[in-house]
């Protein structure tokens, strides 16, 4: 197309594009969206959201402060999150109300979506509800040492869906709350003290009274062993390999490691000094006389 033809067609092209604009009624659409009323509503919504967020922020800060002093971190965290989400939901509902958006249709759709989501997020919901039960039961708190199945570790964090442990070999373990509800959980540090059960097998030629005296003296000399409850000694049985003895000594939780090692080392040292032998599996064989 040469320049002369293009110039000649220009008025026709302009007429076509003007027709397209008329077809879309663009002037009316812009007029509908950007009028005084809608601008006022937008400002109202923005103000409501701003004030609402500030209000929620103040309440959450207050609850954080109060719960930090009065509640454990898990309960406090849960309360803060609940208040926070409830506040956001209220702000959202208010925003829709100001914008004259009918929520009934939206809620209906949300209900259907909720059912679908519920099926999809069944495990997460189960974990969340289990978390609420765990929180209510107060089985453990952050910093406690717990054993779940074969895993033992320090409770690192307690969250809505799972509990995180740090094992003693410094591994990170995530345990879903649902598992914690279903399985046996041992909280090792729930009480301020623990009893160490020391089981020993000594040879049959051992003077049991002497062994008892040495064991109780060893316990009495260990600064980590509590004087009360008193150490407990018992002859458990005459076993297949020797006399089975039991010594129960109580330690305060922080002293556990040191006192436990000290007890075993001292028992070995004192038994060796007294000539008391530990028994090991033995078998007596009689030659058959033909």
């Amino acid at each position: 197309m040469d320049a002369t033809t293009a110039l000649a067609d220009a008025p026709t092209a302009a007429q076509h594009s003007s027709g397209a604009l008329k077809l879309l009624h663009m002037d009316d659409v812009f007029g509908m969206i950007f009028n005084i009323e809608s601008a006022t509503k937008a400002v109202q919504i923005a103000l409501m959201i701003l004030i609402g967020l500030i209000f929620v922020g103040i309440i959450v800060t207050l609850i954080k402060k109060i719960s930090g002093k009065r509640m454990d971190s898990r309960t406090g965290g849960f309360l803060v999150k609940t208040v926070q989400y409830a506040g956001f939901a209220l702000i959202l509902i208010n925003a829709f109300k100001i914008a004259n958006i009918d929520l009934s249709a939206l809620l209906g759709a949300a209900g259907i979506a909720g059912i679908a989501l519920g099926f999809a997020a069944q495990t997460s919901v189960s974990n969340f509800i289990s978390g609420i039960f765990l929180m209510y039961e107060k089985t453990f708190a952050e910093g406690d040492i717990v054993t779940v199945d074969d895993t033992t570790g320090v409770v690192f964090s307690i969250d809505a869906l799972s509990v995180k442990l740090r094992t003693f070999d410094n591994r990170f373990v995530r345990i879903p709350n649902e598992t914690l509800i279903k399985t046996n959980v041992i909280n090792v540090t729930r009480f301020p003290l623990r009893r160490q059960n020391i089981k020993l097998t000594v040879t049959y030629n051992t003077d049991i009274e002497r062994a008892r005296t040495i064991l109780l003296q060893t316990a009495a000399a260990n600064p980590g062993v509590l004087r009360k409850p008193e150490p407990f000694f018992m002859v458990q049985s005459f076993g297949p390999n020797g006399i089975e003895l039991f010594l129960g000594v109580w330690f305060a939780n922080p002293d556990w490691e040191q006192a436990n090692n000290g007890m075993y080392l001292d028992i070995k040292k004192n038994f060796d000094a007294a000539g008391i032998e530990f028994a090991y599996p033995t078998m007596t064989i009689y030659p058959k006389k033909s």
Binding site: M71, D72, T75, F191, V225, L226, K228, A252
Partner: protein
């Protein structure tokens, strides 16, 4: 023993004795400053050890031994040894327990061991118990308190304890009052003391605390200070309480509330 000392820069290891316990202090030069090394030893070792006197004198471990604790002195050239109560409560087991009849009001004395604190420039850098620090439980295993264990005789007397009772400078005397408000006789076999509420009053080598009131009731036993009285002539306050009675009361109340509600 309870006073300020210059660093033992030219005399080897300095020995501070408190009864059967010995506190060793030595000094090492570290660059432009000095390092104070301290350790404690207790005469009564384990029950398995021989009671005979050792033929050779007890030797102090070399300064590079882990038995010593070290503290950089900075510019300070002095240290002070001051008495203090242990951080944890002290549970004093009475050597001769007795029953306190209903409505009884008995006054007497008990003793407990203090700790020797090494203070440099106003800050405590180390604290050593002056008796081997055994522990015990006060209460029941699921809700008791782990305490420092101590043993003492109960001296049923309203009169001040005489000087000979204070032979061991590591002991502090506690005037006590025992009241039984329950309708039944109670066995008094141990008394638990919260040292952080108490001061240490000194007169020469003697040390004592304020009078303590132990109230035995149907719900248990409660320790409190029996009012603050003026210091007797010649006595001075050598250690202040770490927390006030009111503060302690609030903390205890919150602990009790949390124990009851598990919140």
């Amino acid at each position: 023993m309870w006073r300020q000392y210059d660093l033992p820069t030219s005399e080897g290891t300095r020995i501070h004795r408190a009864g059967k316990t010995v506190l060793y202090v030595a000094v090492e030069v570290a660059g432009e400053g000095e390092v104070l090394a301290a350790m404690v030893s207790y005469a009564e070792d384990s029950g398995l050890a021989s009671r005979r006197k050792p033929k050779v004198p007890i030797s102090v471990p070399p300064l590079d031994s882990p038995t010593w604790s070290r503290y950089f002195m900075g510019t300070s050239s002095t240290y002070e040894i001051v008495p203090g109560y242990p951080q944890m409560p002290v549970c004093i087991k009475l050597r001769e327990p007795f029953f306190l009849p209903p409505a009884a009001d008995l006054r007497g004395w008990i003793f407990s061991h203090v700790e020797a604190r090494i203070v440099v420039g106003g800050s405590t850098i180390a604290s050593y118990p002056l008796a081997r620090p055994f522990k015990t439980l006060y209460g029941i295993p699921e809700a008791g308190i782990v305490c420092r264990h101590d043993e003492a005789d109960f001296l049923a007397s309203d009169e001040p304890v005489i000087d000979t009772m204070h032979e061991d400078p590591g002991l502090v005397a506690h005037p006590v009052r025992l009241r039984n408000t329950s309708p039944d006789p109670v066995l008094v076999n141990e008394l638990c003391i919260y040292g952080e509420q108490l001061s240490i009053l000194g007169n020469g080598t003697r040390m004592q605390s304020e009078r303590l009131l132990f109230m035995f009731s149907g719900s248990g036993v409660r320790m409190s200070l029996e009012g603050q009285t003026e210091l007797p002539a010649g006595w001075t306050q050598i250690a202040r309480p770490r927390v006030s009675g009111e503060e302690r009361f609030i903390v205890r109340s919150i602990e009790l509330f949390r124990a009851m509600t598990r919140m």
